[in-house]
């Protein structure tokens, strides 16, 4: 790992520690009338100066967590504390101020403003915060020189490569020297040479006085992170054990929507009711399935939480398979039919 670049060092912190503490963070939103809960009681502790990696596939709640950390999204429950600031206690005005002073953002796909030059893009957060134009431009120039973009100050984003745009985006995130830098998929859309430069830069930025939180599904970043948080619950198939018989009485719930599970079920006798919780009323019945039908396969196979609740409609007997056993069983069935 190269030595940190002195120019990019954060300003000395007045707070003794900018540690991050997240407790019981729950976010729920509606999608197509159904409640989605990407974060449910999430907890995290990270120390000042760390590079924290939020790892997981699309839809696992990485960006939702970044939005909460950035003071953009209000969680349903839980608290986020950074240094002396409890972000979740702030009002709208407090959030705006928090975003202007405490947080730097590096957005997915760079999200530079296309009409502004690289210099003006970097100066934008300072201008928004009321910094005099000359001072804002001077600071923006310094930052761009530090990320090796001093030669492209007057170029608009359309004239820059992906890696160059990402470096401008990082410089913009650092404009007001924030103690918390949030980066969303910073290596997406970059080739490996550009990605390496960006990763090195982000690594250099994480040091006492600045916490860097990166959301990504790119596990190449894992070795250089101080802390890795896997947001998707990896269900190991060998935990599932051999196929087993499960018996439920009518009305008993087998699994709930939003929960994680590694088993796929085949109905031997009786009926199962598949329900989807609605955000605006009683659960919606999707289907009632009977002997020979199987259900609950997509969550374990794709790494998603359960998308519906399964409840015994009558007394029921099921066989529960691990994902691999289930795939083997299905292939064997298909072979017999074919």
């Amino acid at each position: 790992m190269p030595d940190p670049t002195p120019d990019l060092a954060p300003a000395p912190s007045q707070s003794s520690a900018r540690d991050l503490t997240i407790r019981g963070l729950t976010v729920e939103y509606r999608s197509g009338g159904y409640p989605i809960r990407p974060l449910d009681g999430f907890e995290l502790d990270a120390e000042d100066g760390e590079m924290v990696l939020l790892l997981g596939p699309s839809g696992c709640g990485k960006t939702t967590l970044l939005s909460c950390l950035g003071g953009i999204l209000t969680p349903m429950e839980g608290s986020i504390r950074i240094g002396d600031t409890t972000v979740t206690d702030l009002d709208a005005r407090g959030w705006s101020r928090y975003r202007r002073e405490q947080v730097g953002f590096v957005f997915q796909a760079f999200n530079l403003i296309p009409s502004l030059t690289a210099l003006e893009n970097v100066a934008a957060p300072l201008l928004v915060a009321g910094t005099p134009r000359r001072a804002a431009m001077r600071r923006a120039r310094e930052l761009l020189e530090q990320v090796d973009m001093g030669e492209r100050l007057r170029n608009r984003p359309g004239k820059l490569s992906g890696g160059q745009q990402q470096r401008v985006a990082i410089a913009r995130g650092l404009a007001h020297d924030p103690p918390l830098l949030l980066a969303d998929e910073p290596t997406a859309n970059l080739d490996y040479i550009q990605a390496e430069a960006v990763i090195r830069l982000l690594r250099e930025l994480a040091r006492p006085g600045r916490l860097v939180v990166i959301a990504t599904h790119d596990d190449r970043l894992v070795p250089i992170a101080d802390r890795v948080v896997e947001l998707a619950q990896h269900v190991r198939d060998d935990d599932a054990g051999p196929p087993q018989t499960v018996r439920l009485a009518a009305g008993e719930v087998l699994f709930e929507q939003g929960s994680w599970g590694q088993l796929v079920y085949v109905i031997e006798a009786g009926e199962i009711e598949i329900l989807r919780e609605r955000s605006d009323g009683p659960a919606q019945r999707l289907a009632v399935i009977g002997p020979g039908d199987y259900f609950g396969e997509l969550g374990p196979l794709l790494g998603f939480p359960r998308s519906a609740t399964a409840r015994a409609h009558t007394d029921v007997e099921l066989t529960a398979y691990g994902a691999d056993d289930f795939k083997r069983t299905i292939r064997a069935e298909a072979g017999r039919v074919g």
């Binding site: 970044l66 953009i72 705006s96 975003r99 953002f105 796909a109 403003i113 009409s115 957060p125 913009r172």
Partner: protein
């Protein structure tokens, strides 16, 4: 925010340029169409006042001097008691025939084939050098029974012949702006000539004029002011003026739509930018100011351009276009108001942007 606004205008210069040009054309049409309507009014008022700013005496029941042609005995003028001279006037609408301009040009070049041009006119018979006569701008006043002074709108050159009824008259002078009924030219002849053409030479009049105060009138006559005569003449073109007013309103609506559409499209294009700006701490108010500023700039630049365009186009119009100088102040102010109103849709979109959208990728 000024920087963002200016840069976005530069970035979308072609789109904003086209919007400004289109809006400027519409505003120019607003100015010109309004000027045409104002021209109708000013021509009627100017013509009546040029003939007699004082009192007009008409038969009872006549709606006006130019709209009802009720001839009466001109001898009644002697019974009118006024502190100034009372003179008879004979007005009638008719048709004048002249050699077409192109036929005159052809004849000059040796082609003797002739063509005739016919146009509607208002014939005015007045006492020589008395009230009711025209202010001659080119040539001289008519002094004989075969001479006529024509409104310059009739486009009859001095020295040319014009036939009204059975009379062949020579144009000896022209008077600017003497029109009625949205551009119908007036031809001024001696009262005797008008009587020959209109009432078979009888000593009749359709109006009596005096610049003094009338203290007594014979039965069957009433006195009205020049302004009432002009207003009555305008009554005939009320529908035309009303139609022009409606067109004017429609033009404003189209102009507002153009500004609104371009600002709305700009807002749509910039939703991600707004989300980013909000995420980095920009207030909703500052975003609104930026968009409103764009609408204002488009409207003001279009208004200024429109004023120049209108000035260029006025001479091309065959009708008198009377542009009120106040228009040049009112138009930009109104344009700003309309521009801001029209940009409400775009402003609403900017207000509604969720800063969390800054986190979405290219597709989301």
């Amino acid at each position: 925010m000024w920087l963002l606004t200016a840069r976005d205008l530069q970035h979308r210069a072609l789109r904003f340029g086209m919007a400004i040009f289109g809006t400027a054309l519409l505003f120019a049409m607003v100015i010109l169409v309004g000027g045409v309507a104002a021209g109708f009014s000013s021509s009627a008022t100017g013509t009546v006042n040029a003939m007699n700013e004082g009192t007009w005496i008409l038969p009872e029941g006549a709606s006006g001097a130019f709209t009802s042609y009720a001839a009466f005995d001109a001898g009644l003028a002697d019974e009118v008691v006024a502190d100034d001279e009372v003179v008879p006037l004979l007005i009638m609408r008719g048709v004048a025939t002249s050699e077409a301009a192109e036929a005159v040009a052809s004849a000059d070049e040796g082609d003797l084939s002739s063509a005739e041009a016919t146009q509607d006119i208002v014939l005015v018979g007045h006492v020589a050098a008395g009230l009711g006569g025209p202010p001659v701008d080119v040539g001289r006043a008519a002094s004989g029974l075969d001479e006529v002074v024509a409104s310059s709108a009739a486009e009859l050159p001095i020295g040319s012949s014009v036939w009204v009824g059975e009379r062949d008259l020579e144009v000896v002078g022209t008077a600017d702006g003497m029109t009625m009924f949205a551009g119908t030219p007036l031809l001024f002849v001696d009262l005797e000539v008008a009587r020959d053409i209109a009432v078979e030479g009888r000593p009749a009049a359709t109006a009596l004029l005096t610049s003094g105060t009338v203290s007594s009138l014979p039965d069957g006559l009433v006195a009205i002011a020049a302004t009432a005569v002009a207003d009555d003449a305008l009554r005939l073109i009320e529908d035309a003026v009303g139609t022009i007013d409606i067109i004017n309103v429609l033009l404003w609506i189209v102009a507002a739509s153009v500004i609104g559409a371009v600002v709305y499209l700009s807002a749509l294009d910039r939703l991600r930018d707004f989300a980013v700006l909000k995420a980095i701490g920009a207030s909703t108010r500052s975003l609104l100011v930026g968009l409103a500023l764009q609408a204002t700039i488009v409207a003001v630049v279009a208004a200024v351009l429109a004023i120049g365009l209108a000035e260029l186009l006025v001479p091309v119009f065959p009708l008198h276009v009377a542009i009120d100088p106040g228009t040049f102040i009112r138009l930009p102010l109104l344009a700003v108001g309309v521009g801001l109103l029209a940009s409400l849709g775009g402003l609403r979109r900017a207000v509604g942007v969720d800063p969390a959208a800054a986190f979405s990728g290219p597709g989301g």
